[in-house]
Symmetry: C2
Subunit: 243 residues, 2 copies
């Protein structure tokens, strides 16, 4: 299943405006303005002015929040988004509720304490973002993330992403029983996404500091329903996907 562009001009638009360039512009702008976000529960709040509003929207980080302030737009960054801008892109500082800037280690501890699975989810999130995928929450589809080839206004999300831990899935993991696999694959088919399983192998590393992340390996697998028609002999039929 390829990308499903929204409308005719979208693919050309996306090609002319690569996500890597948008992220790079956002990076420069945030660095220049010495942007600071404030931790608030499961998110980090960031106030920006018009130019950065546009860049955050184009790069698909956070969600705008409606406030009474006229000259500033507030953005609510998810935990992975905030940590990515701070730790991976190094273009954002995050301060705690006591107004002191948190270093990467402190932030990592905060995120882990809020969400036990943060190290795994963050590895998956950053893995995809580094490849210039736009990554958003997948909770609407009962998966961890959805991944877009470009901005969601131009293209439908292509992958529904589940993040699993290699060898330590425990009793709370997904896809441990056939019915869950069937359910997830059926849902993905119904909404025209491919199920992408990212299995994180910690390679014996724990989760003590963010430097562990460098040792984690990511294995990518897609799961799709096997369709007997795809095995017919005529290669043209297969290529065209005709049933």
């Amino acid at each position: 299943m390829g990308p499903r562009w929204k409308g005719r001009a979208s693919e050309a638009k996306a090609l002319a405006d690569p996500m890597s360039k948008i992220i790079s512009d956002l990076h420069s702008s945030l660095v220049q303005s010495e942007a600071h976000a404030v931790l608030a529960g499961y998110s980090a709040l960031l106030a920006v002015e018009a130019e950065q509003t546009e860049l955050l929207n184009r790069a698909c980080f956070g969600r705008p929040i409606v406030t009474a302030e006229k000259d500033k737009q507030w953005y609510q960054l998810g935990m992975e988004e905030g940590f990515y801008l701070c730790h991976s892109l190094k273009c954002l500082k995050i301060v705690g509720e006591d107004n002191s800037t948190k270093n990467d280690d402190e932030l990592w501890q905060y995120m882990k304490a809020k969400k036990e699975t943060f190290p795994l989810l963050y590895k998956a999130y950053s893995h995809l973002r580094k490849k210039n995928w736009v990554v958003r929450s997948g909770s609407q589809y009962g998966v961890d993330f959805v991944a877009y080839r470009h901005h969601p206004s131009l293209v439908h999300s292509e992958y529904a992403v589940l993040v699993l831990a290699e060898g330590e899935d425990g009793e709370n993991g997904r896809l441990r029983v056939w019915s869950d696999i069937h359910c997830t694959v059926r849902l993905c088919g119904g909404v025209a996404k491919t199920l992408l399983i990212l299995t994180i192998n910690k390679n014996g590393q724990g989760t003590a500091t963010p430097s562990c992340l460098e040792q984690y390996a990511v294995e990518e697998r897609t799961i799709s329903r096997w369709s007997p028609e795809q095995c017919r002999e005529d290669p043209a039929t297969v290529a065209n996907g005709i049933k």
Copy 2:
């Protein structure tokens, strides 16, 4: 969500031809012909003549199998279907591969050995069948069963059924993590079914003999997405389901 009838006349047709009556006719016919099915792996094979072919089709038991035999139609009954006709309706004998009739206890052991979850699944299956629901496999949707108000040719399946064990779900159960719940509820919404969770409480009984089944209790719960619109003040809006 109410029943979605297929076409206009279907509801009247169903009302004029209640499932309880069809099952009762099937029962009489199978008793009269002293019907025997043969165990074959995960199913029981039953050969019937024209009249019973029609009754099995109308009652939705088993699947017809294509064979070279002209005067007999073979049916493949699932494990729950076979045991229901044998143990609950007492209108079918089931013989083993050695051609000796299996009593209920022997059959129960056979089923349990083939599928560890058989006692739970059977309790759920029989619970719904006794209320005259038509119950079929839910594997297409990643659930245990789907339930129809009447024959699938007249109505779409109304419930997607998951069977859980009270208090002993273990590591292989469904719906243990939010993402699985989201995924399942989203899929059910997408295919216009209501998610029905049947939780079986064994009440301290084991699974030694089929007589345990009488002590098992079944708790019914439906899960649906909460839609904020349903809480608006105007009761007419709520009743009409207008968003």
